[in-house]
Symmetry: C2
Subunit: 219 residues, 2 copies
């Protein structure tokens, strides 16, 4: 019986969480869930699949079209989103992580899993409020009340910079997995190196004084 469910986007952060969860729970005790929500770049899902295949860890893709119906936004449409919160980036979908974690919890509930792991973090990112510690703590309580079932939401990256995240996965012995991840907002591979995501990633590696295996694949 699995003990923990990792929300896996195929990106650098959730792959680091996967490495963290392997150490904490044991590789045989974890599984992953990814969301096919109409994102522009299906390469995210391909990355998640490749990484899990390499590690021999189960990866379930849950399809949901609800964002498409909810409204236009920059992650599912090629448009600038307008929101009442001017300070938020154009990729903002209100409450997206609450939505994903609620689905993950429902999936976990049916499988007797109590531990959820997500790569949200307060640092580096552009102020998505649903990535913050207070949202996650409150959501943990909401899900536990709402399903009458004790959940623990683990957020190992919450207060780490991107550089610290690089150091963490290296320390865990899985830096090589990052060669299979996807980061570029433009969906390019090799990455464009110019979009905010590519720049943020590069800065992290630079500060950690490491080479990004995605840019210099050896395998």
């Amino acid at each position: 019986m699995p003990k923990a469910l990792i929300l896996h986007s195929g990106g650098q952060d959730s792959t680091t969480c996967l490495a963290w969860a392997m150490k904490k729970f044991g590789r045989e005790n974890i599984e992953t869930i990814s969301f096919d929500y109409g994102q522009r770049h299906k390469t995210e899902l391909a990355s998640a699949r490749k990484i899990c295949k390499k590690l021999d860890i189960k990866n379930t893709v849950l399809k949901t079209d609800v964002f498409k119906h909810l409204g236009k936004n920059a992650l599912t449409h090629d448009l600038k989103m307008t929101t009442p919160k001017k300070a938020l980036p154009s990729t903002f979908v209100p409450g997206r992580n609450i939505f994903f974690l609620t689905l993950a919890a429902a999936y976990a509930y049916d499988r007797g899993i109590h531990d959820l792991v997500t790569g949200v973090c307060e640092t580096d990112y552009s102020g998505y409020p649903d990535c913050r510690e207070n949202t996650m703590k409150s959501l943990e309580k909401t899900l536990s009340y709402g399903m009458d079932y004790q959940f623990k939401i683990h957020t190992p990256l919450m207060f780490l910079t991107k550089a610290k995240t690089v150091e963490l996965i290296k320390k865990l012995g899985h830096l090589d997995l990052l060669a299979l991840t996807h980061t570029c907002y433009k969906g390019k591979n090799p990455p464009c190196k110019k979009c905010p995501s590519c720049i943020l990633r590069a800065k992290g590696f630079q500060q950690a004084n490491e080479e990004d295996p995605l840019l210099n694949p050896t395998s």
Copy 2:
């Protein structure tokens, strides 16, 4: 600009909430949202549409297929659901109301609406944990944190029996709307009078000493 969003299933409870919200916010200040989630009986959505049309209130139907992908359950499939919680009824979908309210909140956010109204209640019902006061209070906080936007979740029926709910809508002058609602689990109209939902509804009217306009339509 609307001020409140009512989650409207087309049933007795959410129709009572609609009458309550008309009084509290004014008919011109409210709109409704219904979810097309693959329920067995589309007649629920037809009821919501008819009621809102009669009142000249906007009704948005948000389609989501995620429950279908999440797993089998008695509301979307004609099967008995097995869950780890034996005490819960077979129609239980873990976290369903959290999911619906999160979607409603995202919809409300984009429209500058802060007030959400839902017909969940602790009484009469069969112990769905996501209908309880503690879940709703916690969810209100989670959504407000997660969207950095103050939500208020109104639950006017939380501690009312079905009889009190009948009395409430009568007092609000809208008992007649119940002729357009849908309750029967078997999807029948006229209702089957035998399923748990029909029995619960009948008991409420009996205790309130009122006739159900659904059974004796006059218009």
